[in-house]
Symmetry: none
Subunit: 403 residues, 2 copies
């Protein structure tokens, strides 16, 4: 077929980097398949938000899906909540939550010993807490959970209670704008009731006996309003799916109306079952027009500052990507949501390499997938919110402006 | 160090050009040091404002410092005033002034014979003029001066009295918007009182006797409001300095909160003591995080239409830049504020070459600093207001958008 009708968007989370001793991990890794896609396609660099703007994973993914986060993003909470399986509704205010260990006025362990068995605690909170507004509280991965408040007059402009570092004092949530005062009051009341429930919960009594840190408080962060946006199918007329391991990306997909397709053994780390994720993605293309496949381990290795681990994992990704090379009737797009330079151990604003291969694409001279090669490619330098319109046009789904 | 923590921004004023007989002055000049920086770094082209917008030096420098002139620029006056040492305050309306020679209703010499000894005239005006609002009037370089009006209800939307060419009629200042009528009236009253003072001033009586054109009027232009902007340190958390010869660039630096560091023998021409300026810049980096070094002679030679002079001066600049090559822990950035093609003898909108060298930079294949080579570089094409965010990210000072 001369024109593709499907899109596989592969996001190698944080894979983009800076050179160390002259080379980036993408340059050092063994990537015959990625390089083949580069040879077949058109490459470029992309500021997922804008030049010099250091993106979080959340706003970057939204931009890559064509939603301008500067217009609709208020905080990470709703996406985590959706990822945790909470059926979020437009207008609710959502928070990311951590079970944590508090001793007097100090947070001694922000993760309560990375507690995993939180089902009973969550049930007790669901049943025991009573607020002036409706709420949903659900388990997320590990020690994490998500909370959504529902009702009139709620506002997401409140501070975090999470002090971000162990050994720091507990913070109560403050309104950052006058209209958020009620929300702050409700959240502080929630926390108070939760602490009273957790304090005397048998599971915590047992943990203390066993010398483990009790999950005796909950820390809140990332307050955000569930955005009122068009779904992916309303916006593009495409049926989309998301394949990812992290609650955040799953949640972004869900809020945008993508079907979440679970993969057994997908961990979000370098130990993830990425082979199955790729197989699932190819399979999903049979019933979907668009599949977002996020592979997260590259970002994890970067935050750890481990260049060797990152490089090795990129080589491993390349291996499992063999079946997507030359995928029929499909635009294969490979990019990253942001750079996470190993020396920075955090996201940076360096543009990410992006490449598009498939029918009709203006193949250029770029022969490798890396930050330096991509910068010489035919796409030049684009922005994250430009990507979906470009892909939509290549699959012949854009409407004409003018006549 | 893997990440730089300082920035040296070198602005070769108007150095960017168009090819004449196939080559630009930057291509023709002998520039081993600039080329070495290019080899070590990443290059690109930059529209200091936007494609096709022909920038003045003022708006270009503001954009390069990360202040969007389309949001805060109303006229050149306040920057000239600040450069002349007038302590400008937010909200005042400032003008650039020329001492000039008027005969009956015609301006016969816009520069009053390039008069330099204006101290006495200025003193007489300071003491003799009385207005409904406060004003400060101070000497600037040569025949120039600056005026700031201070008070309520002032507005910068007034025309220039400067006819721009000798032999043209004197123009009274007109309000360009109804709300500027009072300001126009005040400025015309100021001019009237000034002319009465200058007419009978002994210095002018002497000049006439000596056959020199008397400085018997003042021409006004560039009315602008002193902008209400965050200082450089408020905006970026950086301590910055400016090294420049022209009042305009010094004034821009001052209004943005940069420390002005004077250099003996800096003239703004091709005769300038640029060796000392570079030494001062390197020295200033010991006590500052950010240094803007402006070298103006390239622009002067361009306005003169002298390609040979421009090329020669670029070679001279290259020589004195030897010590900045590979400066430790520092991003060395070289660019121009705008193109000033020798054949145009004025600014043009052609993008300028920009390069960044230093720790973490994605070095590309560009091996020379010129307009044509830079266009193939890894930065691709950026805008002036993107530069500071990109540099801030490379020194790890950006805040994350999203999470």
């Amino acid at each position: 077929m001369d024109i593709a009708n499907k899109v596989l968007l592969i996001i190698l989370d944080g894979a983009s980097d800076r050179p160390v001793n002259g080379k980036t991990p993408l340059q050092l890794a063994n990537t015959p398949n990625l390089d083949k896609i580069a040879s077949m396609g058109i490459s470029g660099i992309m500021d997922t938000i804008a030049p010099g703007v250091r993106p979080g994973s959340d706003v970057a993914h939204l931009a890559l899906l064509g939603y301008d986060p500067r217009e609709m993003y208020t905080g990470r909470g709703p996406f985590e909540a959706a990822g945790a399986g909470i059926p979020v509704k437009k207008g609710g205010v959502a928070f990311r939550c951590n079970f944590a260990t508090r001793r007097n006025n100090v947070i001694v362990d922000r993760r309560a010993g990375r507690i995993r068995e939180t089902n009973e605690l969550i049930k007790a909170i669901q049943e025991g807490v009573h607020l002036d507004v409706g709420f949903v509280f659900e388990k997320s991965a590990g020690h994490r959970a998500a909370l959504v408040l529902r009702g009139d007059g709620l506002d997401p402009n409140v501070s975090d209670s999470d002090p971000k570092h162990d050994g720091e004092a507990v913070r109560s949530i403050r309104a950052l704008k006058p209209e958020a005062e009620r929300t702050a009051r409700i959240i502080n009341e929630f926390t108070k009731q939760v602490e009273s429930i957790l304090e005397r919960h048998p599971l915590n009594v047992e943990r203390v006996k066993a010398g483990k840190p009790p999950a005796n408080t909950i820390l809140m962060r990332g307050a955000g309003t569930v955005p009122d946006i068009k779904t992916f199918s309303e916006k593009y007329g495409l049926k989309g799916a998301v394949i990812a391991a992290t609650a955040l990306v799953i949640g972004i997909g869900r809020i945008c109306g993508l079907n979440y397709i679970e993969t057994k053994g997908a961990t979000g780390g370098t130990d993830s079952n990425i082979n199955s994720k790729v197989k699932n993605a190819i399979d999903a293309l049979k019933k979907h027009d668009f599949v977002l496949l996020n592979i997260k381990g590259t970002d994890e290795a970067s935050h750890d500052g481990d260049a060797e681990k990152k490089t090795g994992f990129i080589s491993k990704i390349d291996e499992v990507l063999a079946p997507v090379v030359g995928l029929k009737d499909t635009l294969v797009v490979v990019t990253a949501d942001h750079s996470t330079p190993v020396v920075v151990r955090d996201h940076s604003a360096d543009p990410v390499p992006v490449m598009i291969a498939g029918p009709g694409v203006r193949a250029d001279d770029v022969r490798a997938y890396d930050e330096i090669s991509a910068a010489t490619g035919g796409l030049n330098r684009i922005r994250g919110v430009d990507l979906m319109p470009i892909l939509m046009d290549l699959i012949n789904r854009t409407e004409k402006f003018g006549a």
